[in-house]
């Protein structure tokens, strides 16, 4: 089942609608990384509200998405991890270290607005400021 990816301004929003197989997750990773370039996205939001379980493969794939997107110049934030899912993840030893998270889509957008504003302020102009 393919995950729809919406483009909103400088951001890409991937909204997971149902349980995903490993192949679906890998496909989502490829699609997002490709679209970061195609749409010159500054931020990526992956909404996992609908996921009722996250195992080691899902967490590893989300981490890979965040790291690969950063290498392509976009910040990623994972939103919507449910309380039971968070509990099971911690028990499993899965922490998403180094990956930004936010409570929901609204908080995720606010987070990206701050993050990408910092980047724009520091922008490429820094090189010839002197």
């Amino acid at each position: 089942m393919e995950v729809p990816i919406l483009k909103q301004g400088h951001y890409l929003i991937a909204s997971i609608q149902s349980a995903l197989t490993d192949a679906d997750l890998s496909q989502l990773r490829e699609a997002l990384i490709e679209r970061v370039g195609r749409f010159r996205a500054r931020g990526v939001i992956v909404d996992v509200t609908a996921l009722d379980v996250m195992d080691s493969f899902a967490v590893r794939t989300l981490r890979d998405i965040a790291h690969m997107a950063r290498l392509r110049g976009a910040e990623t934030v994972i939103v919507g991890i449910q309380p039971e899912v968070a509990f099971a993840m911690v028990q499993l030893g899965l922490t998403l270290k180094g990956v930004s998270t936010a409570l929901d889509l609204e908080e995720g957008l606010a987070f990206l607005n701050v993050q990408t504003q910092v980047r724009i302020d520091r922008g490429p102009g820094r090189l010839d400021r002197g």
Partner: protein, 136 residues
């Protein structure tokens, strides 16, 4: 008690089916939604191990009663290469597949009872249980 549910594991979609069936069974038996998630996550890890190491196998799900406790029993069987060093495979971060090495130790932390038997060249059976108190 309900009959055993048997789910063949031969593709990644079966991993999703197994954990959903496990969640449904736990829900029927009255486990909390937190415990349902924990059981589903443990099944997901164990089912993926079957695919990764043995290519095919099966997961059997059942309910048991023991005094005032009710349990979900998950048995994962395969005829794969077996685990050469079970104690080592139970350590966090040990993996021969390039994975995170959290499958077995992670699943053990999620469940109450956990047992692995493995014969090199013959296969592996993982039996794990989650219990809940049945009170009136």
């Amino acid at each position: 008690m309900a009959d055993d549910l048997l789910i063949p594991i031969t593709a990644d979609v079966d991993v999703v089916t197994a954990r959903q069936r496990g969640r449904d069974l736990a829900a029927e038996a009255g486990f909390s939604s937190g415990d349902q998630t924990v059981i589903a996550a443990a099944i997901s890890e164990i089912a993926r191990n079957i695919l990764m190491y043995a290519k095919r196998g099966e997961i059997a799900l059942s309910l048991v009663a023991n005094g005032d406790r009710q349990g979900v029993v998950v048995v994962a069987r395969d005829q794969g290469p077996g685990i050469r060093d079970v104690p080592r495979a139970m350590q966090d971060g040990y993996s021969t597949s390039g994975g995170l090495g959290l499958g077995l130790p992670g699943a053990r932390r999620l469940m109450d009872d956990f047992d692995v038997t493995s014969d090199a060249g013959k296969g592996t059976t993982v039996t794990m249980k989650k219990w809940r108190r049945m009170n009136a």
